[in-house]
Assembly symmetry: C2
């Protein structure tokens, strides 16, 4: 292994160039007021010593309190929805010279609090959170200290803050309305825990749609608390094993939809069971039958979120904004199955 050479500081550069520390600082920061000859000498010393600016020390002394980094906490950076959102935010952050500290919460409230604490200790300039907690009042001190916080995908509770969300209830209603219009009456609901706001909203939309159509909701057709594909697959298999199986299914999240698709496939029931999923996936269009889905415009979600954050960073102190995007039902073949 080669010898490691400790990083050079401005002092080292100053010594080598035969100038004062302050002059090096001026050159490194491209400030005026340094003669060309001196500037060149300093530049040479910088190169020779492989000097690298120490941003943390600089930030500390400047006292602006800015680190040019933002924290982005999503449900799971490997999930299609979360990762596309993260990417959209990264692009916006990049335009403004901001680095992105990313974290996955896995619907774990403790993890959210721990990660937020870490981001605060790092003095990120702003925070974007897809909350796993049901109550975010613990963030009030941070907000009071001037930290811009934008909630994405899920509205905050216990704190007045910006949010960019999707009309989950409306999207779910549209999905179930669609199935009802095709004559279905036994429509199953597969969703995650109702403690997750979006999951609950989608469940409520399902119930509202049934009620509006005068179709009594059969509680045995609604399965909540599904986290992954396997659970969703097993849940749907159970429903099919019952005496009165559903003729249609509304799946309230992308992984749940995939699990349901596996169950239908295994049972050979893909063409005779109607399916609508919340969240579109790139390959849904290519499946047989292609999958009808409620599509969220993830890029728009990210853009709106980033815009608010950037405005706040620029000093915008107006009241919290609430942006609600409306999802779109993408009609494909999977919802055409007969009753």
């Amino acid at each position: 292994m080669q010898q490691i050479r400790p990083r050079a500081t401005m002092r080292d550069v100053a010594a080598l160039a035969g100038v004062s520390l302050k002059t090096v600082s001026r050159v490194v920061n491209d400030e005026a007021g340094v003669g060309d000859a001196v500037r060149a000498r300093v530049r040479a010393a910088v190169v020779q010593l492989d000097y690298r600016h120490h941003q943390a020390a600089s930030d500390l002394r400047r006292g602006t309190g800015r680190t040019r980094a933002v924290g982005v906490l999503v449900q799971d950076v490997a999930n299609d929805f979360s990762s596309r959102l993260l990417r959209s935010l990264e692009d916006a952050a990049r335009e403004h010279g901001l680095a992105v500290l990313a974290g996955s919460l896995d619907e774990d409230p403790d993890r959210e609090r721990a990660l937020v604490a870490d981001m605060v200790a790092r003095r990120v300039d702003g925070l974007v959170i897809m909350a796993a907690t049901s109550m975010q009042d613990y963030l009030q001190p941070e907000q009071r200290a001037g930290l811009p916080i934008v909630f994405v995908d899920r509205e905050p509770a216990g704190i007045a803050a910006d949010s960019v969300t999707v009309d989950n209830r409306g999207g779910a209603r549209a999905a179930v309305d669609h199935l009802l219009e095709r004559g279905h009456r036994r429509i199953a609901f597969l969703g995650d825990l109702p403690s997750i706001v979006t999951a609950n909203e989608r469940h409520l939309g399902y119930l509202e749609s049934l009620q509006a159509a005068g179709v009594p909701a059969d509680p045995s057709l609604a399965v909540l608390g599904l986290h992954d594909e396997d659970q969703a697959q097993r849940a749907l298999e159970s429903l099919f094993a019952s005496r009165t199986p559903p003729t249609a299914v509304f799946t309230a999240r992308n992984v749940i939809t995939v699990g349901a698709l596996r169950a239908l496939r295994a049972r050979g029931a893909s063409w005779r069971t109607a399916l609508v999923g919340f969240d579109d996936l790139p390959l849904f269009e290519l499946l047989d039958p292609s999958v009808t889905a409620v599509r969220q415009d993830v890029a728009a979600l990210g853009r709106a979120t980033a815009q608010i954050l950037v405005d706040r960073l620029a000093g915008d102190a107006s009241p919290p904004r609430r942006v609600v995007l409306h999802p779109e039902l993408v009609f494909r073949a999977s919802s055409n199955a007969p009753v």
Copy 2:
């Protein structure tokens, strides 16, 4: 808008608690040597003032040069492969109390250098890079300064550093061997720019396989420089429009495979064209025909990478490690099409 209250410093806490700065530091860092009464008073002041530890200042003073953050630069955090790798690394980092600074490179060498420079200025403890540059000698000064760098997915050039990669050539050979065994002779290759090491390796594997089988490679069947689905789709459509279309296709990346699937679907040629893709996708199993693919164990890739990084952070100064994982051919229906 509420009043913003500047963050309290240890000095403020000390003043409120009526103790010295150093005592506050002891309490905040859970050090011994503070009486219970004093400790309680300090704790109360911390809560009252919403004091938050300033990690950067602490790191600076400690002089360990550690920030407990690592940089992870992948191709695109929204891509299935990259995002799963990122997640795997995040999990490992979390276990060691490391935060993750994430960045997408989009195969842009300038962007890689810019992001690396930023990470260095932030003094990350380590760097994981899915390189977009063809030469990484520019990282030598950072390595010399003691920064652990692990290259993932693509081996480094111009620098001796750790790497965790996949046997791309072998994987591609297995894919094409498979198609040859089924009797195909006109096998198309759809891949990205040969300047991307992995893309080139997969192309070489394709050529090697053909050569080993004594099948002359028809250059008109190989299309390189495909970046996204649309380009891949159009490329395959062009091949089909030729006088001597392929009977089989090897697609060298996940987005290319999806583009090819669209082309086959649009043409109604899915069942009569054999297809093998490099990179598996969650829904390939559910397509008709299901898609045969060369699967990389992304989680294992991430784990191996993280392990090396963690070892280096712990002081391991042994010679650079080269880990090569072997992908697996997952047989499904898409490669069964007749010649």
